[in-house]
Subunit: 218 residues, 4 copies
């Protein structure tokens, strides 16, 4: 809090930093949005968000031009955290990175249910998601190389896995993350190498892409 060496010099020009209270309001609004959307879904009113944040409507709309932009910001934040987790998982040895990534992400999502509905099927934070995807692809390759995942597993299967996880999290709203952890555990078991091949082919990359690039639904 003191003027430590880390503090960015006041005059730094490239990103015009928000004034202290403005930034505070921004954070407050994001927290309130997460809370409100987690409780009542994305159809909750912006008035409710502003009320919980303790700011006026005008302030909300000064920080975020539309309700959609507010949600998008939640999505971007969450995506960035997931990317962080994925990168940490790269350090895990013996091809177990993917698994630890999945469990950690499930826990993170359980604590950030507000914007899950928009997490994987909107064009928000596409660059971050692309990077995330690259890292995950590496984790998957590593897992397969170490014999922890079936060789048939493709990156699109991780999409499937996340979509299914979202379904579990949506249903277990208000409960602990144990449901989603159990779900992840079963899915990982399903992806372990096995003499029985999967009877169903994977989604084609085109299909997956169409979904990932899809417009945000209601």
């Amino acid at each position: 809090m003191s003027a430590s060496p880390r503090t960015r010099p006041v005059a730094s020009p490239p990103v015009r930093s928000l004034r202290r209270d403005a930034a505070q309001n921004r954070v407050r609004l994001l927290k309130a949005a997460e809370e409100v959307f987690a409780k009542s879904g994305l159809s909750a009113s912006v008035d409710e968000v502003a009320r919980v944040a303790g700011v006026g409507m005008g302030t909300l709309y000064r920080r975020f031009p539309t309700k959609d932009a507010l949600i998008r910001e939640l999505v971007v934040d969450l995506t960035k955290q997931i990317l962080g987790i994925a990168r940490q998982a790269q350090e895990v040895p013996d091809g177990a990175g993917l698994e630890s990534f999945l469990f950690a992400t499930a826990d993170l999502m359980a604590a950030n249910r507000g914007c899950l509905a928009r997490l994987w099927d909107s064009r928000d934070a596409d660059d971050v998601k692309d990077e995330c995807r690259t890292v995950i692809a590496g984790l998957l390759a590593d897992a397969k190389a170490h014999g922890r995942f079936r060789p048939e597993a493709e990156i699109g299967d991780i999409d499937l896995l996340f979509w299914s996880l979202r379904g579990v999290l949506r249903a277990t709203q208000g409960l602990s993350a144990s449901g989603s952890r159990r779900h992840i555990a079963v899915m990982i078991a399903g992806w372990r190498p096995s003499p029985d091949p999967l009877p169903e082919p994977p989604l084609s990359p085109e299909q997956t892409e169409r979904i990932r690039r899809g417009s945000p639904s209601s």
Copy 2:
């Protein structure tokens, strides 16, 4: 089913077809609702449903007293079909009934995405769902007895599986059922008996019940 003498000749018109029109409209409305809700979610407007069905607002409200009742009807119809599938699955030998039930249900749900959001977390058609659950519990016991499912599997895990399936179906809107079939295949593989125990405990029956009896969310 055969052309029995009782079958009225196709061309006879003047019999009392008033009801037939009404029934036609009913079906048209349900189809339109399924289509519209599948595309735009349950928050789609009833005007849109009526427009797609090609009828006036009043007709919709003559058949279904509220928008909710319309959705409920979709849910009830689908639940009944699922129960039918479950019963057929009871005939499948060697403990494979559960698996064929899961694949068939995934296909059915893929063709009826409109009301999935209400399928498992509303109190609609509770009696049918309860019966469904009983049949499924039998299928699961059978599968476990034949060594096709882990002994740790509980009925609540089937809930988890359906919630995850809903997530996949929601994400793959507009696509074929292949994604959901692949997901089911992986999950079944995950439930196959294995020396590695699942690291996570199941949801308690109380938790599952709380979700199943929950109020319809947005």
Copy 3:
């Protein structure tokens, strides 16, 4: 009920008589309308009226071109009955005709509350009402001549009295006619000749007329 001399010959052409069942439906509808409107006000739906009458909507609209016409018919019927009472009151001796007319009319209205809201301020049955007014004017003159009513009483004061009576009947819906009878009694007492003149002038005939000819309100 027998073919008495008074019975109009069946073949009489000038008014084409409705077929028996049609006339029955007409009566049933009027009774149902009276009942429904008395219970729920004139804003009750025509569906309800048809339902209570036990006929279809089409039948209702065949007999009465609009809801308004149905109400008007109730008004006309009631007005005719009031005219009948007024004429009978002409036979009462000693200037007491007006008073007996008022009590009798109050009772009649209490039993026909359905259309009271339209009774005195619409243009329905204007000819009958005009005749009614003439007879009442005679009763009033008679009452004044016999010293039973103040000489200051004018025909417009009878309008006032009926309007006030309607207010009482509206308020005492569901109760007996005793409230309205008491009200009439007090008003008659107020109109008895007295040394104290009324401090307020009567409504001008123009004002009264404007109300009587007013458009039907909601």
Copy 4:
């Protein structure tokens, strides 16, 4: 009230007049509602009220959560004014308070016809109405004690009187208050002590209560 030092100079604008606008709109809405309901009845649409007030629908609903609440506010306002009049009437000597109360109330109601339909048969402002009733009972007792009202007069008869007054006011919409004043004058004359007893008994308190506590009708 005088130009005290505290009075802020008229021209000072920047003080915090947000609330002033809101209050202005509130008053404008109440005036518009009164006007619209007086002209078209309580079934007039809220759009019409908003239009006449010159504000958007949202503003109306910001001030009053439902149409009913708007009407209720009119009722409450009017009831409070009536209570004020009743209290002033307590100062009138010689038992004439009730009469001056009745005339003043008739004038007030004539200027506030919009919500009369709800004034006496809803549970709005019940506490104010109860107090009003107590004061009126005192006025009536005083009038009887001074020989200005028949001893048979009961508080329920004042209800009757007000119901009848409402009928007159409803009918004389668009006219001056002279009709209602004349009506009050006649009723007061009718309640003057007289050797002729009223031929009808009063409403029982139970009956009156049932009406006063009745649900709002259409």
